[in-house]
């Protein structure tokens, strides 16, 4: 049997140290699998694997010890049960997410839903090097957006409805950047100091602080690897509807300037943050 290792790798089969064996990477978006998918993975791993599953560091899953003779059967049986294969190499990888506003009290955006949309649109898109995306519901960053080539984190611009305010001052006490001061019994917000973390809206006992506008902060260039670096803020506030445009612009920048296997952050550093930020600005300011 002919084996094209590069082709297999691109399709989610990772060569193991053990001769003729591969670990099969699965496609997972936002760290969620349905019970039907779990059942399928269980069955396939039981039939062809070695009795266990490997959880990856990015909410992914791999079935180790698949013999190369079973590769086609594994692919087909997984697919029939609603499970797609993951990817390796120069591609957009599985998209990570925290629980987000769907169930976390701190979430400002639905990170899981956004990760699914991003996965649908961009999963496996070819680029010069690996490209990892993560979505966090707020800037507590549980989904580590700053460790990814491109990361999004929910942010919230607060708005005050004075008539509901009970003048407790909790918002002023809790604001992490002291952007709120109490003036004549009511909170006064400094828009300049505000980092749109939304803590005031989350904590307000009377609902006087409410959502003004929800959006995302965009970080770019984050990576771990041999030369770890946290991503830098590329856009501090952007409506969630602009996420696809921001990804498109980043992938286009990567394809235009990136060398084979280069990480996105390295490309930005080489070409210049200014140029990248300009490209992002252009792409996300356009009317959608």
């Amino acid at each position: 049997m002919e084996m094209n290792i590069a082709e297999l790798k691109k399709g989610g089969f990772l060569k193991q140290l053990q001769k003729d064996y591969f670990a099969v990477r699965l496609r997972v978006a936002g760290g969620n699998l349905t019970l039907e998918q779990v059942e399928t993975i269980h069955q396939v791993a039981k039939k062809y694997g070695k009795g266990y599953i490997h959880l990856t560091t990015r909410q992914g899953m791999e079935i180790p010890f698949i013999h190369f003779e079973h590769i086609d059967a594994v692919r087909e049986e997984l697919r029939a049960g609603g499970v797609e294969l993951g990817v390796c190499g120069g591609t957009v990888r599985g998209v990570m997410a925290c629980q987000g506003s769907y169930m976390c009290p701190h979430g400002h955006v639905d990170a899981k839903a956004l990760s699914r949309q991003i996965d649908e649109q961009f999963f496996a898109a070819p680029v010069p090097g690996k490209f990892k995306i993560s979505v966090a519901g707020c800037n507590r960053s549980c989904a580590k957006p700053q460790e990814n080539d491109l990361g999004f984190g929910g942010v919230l611009r607060p708005a005050l409805r004075e008539k509901d305010c009970i003048s407790c001052g909790l918002c002023a006490d809790l604001c992490p950047v002291a952007a709120i001061t109490m003036q004549d019994g009511y909170p006064l917000l400094s828009r300049e100091k505000c980092i749109a973390c939304g803590e005031c809206v989350t904590a307000c006992p009377s609902g006087a602080w409410r959502e003004g506008e929800a959006g995302v902060r965009v970080w770019a260039g984050g990576r771990i690897g041999r030369d770890p670096k946290l991503g830098e803020v590329a856009i501090s506030f952007m409506p969630i509807t602009k996420i696809p445009a921001a990804i498109e612009a980043s992938l286009a920048f990567f394809r235009e300037h990136g060398r084979s296997k280069e990480r996105f952050g390295k490309v930005i550093e080489r070409i210049g943050w200014e140029k990248y930020r300009e490209a992002m600005e252009r792409a996300t300011k356009k009317d959608a």
């Binding site: 009290p105 509901d164 407790c168 006992p205």
Partner: protein, 83 residues
């Protein structure tokens, strides 16, 4: 506005703070006021907003000299909710 009952959860941590508050409110009737003493930090960040989310009305919240908070909650109060 006379509190019907007083609850001290200063020494408790989340989510016990919320559970104790919920149980105390269950023993009251609609419109009753519960007085709660709670600590700063996580408790004051979470308990008041959780009560509001459950449909109660936080009538007052004041920081005490010693850094703890005193809160008055009206059981299933009709004001202050989303409208």
């Amino acid at each position: 506005m006379q509190p019907k009952k007083m609850l001290d959860i200063v020494k408790d941590s989340c989510p016990i703070t919320f559970v104790k508050t919920k149980l105390a409110l269950e023993a009251l009737v609609t419109g009753d006021i519960l007085e709660i003493l709670l600590s700063g930090g996580e408790a004051v960040k979470n308990v008041p907003r959780s009560l509001r989310a459950e449909g109660h009305r936080v009538v007052a919240l004041e920081k005490q000299q010693n850094g703890t908070y005193r809160m008055l909650v009206e059981k299933e109060g009709s004001l202050g909710k989303d409208s």
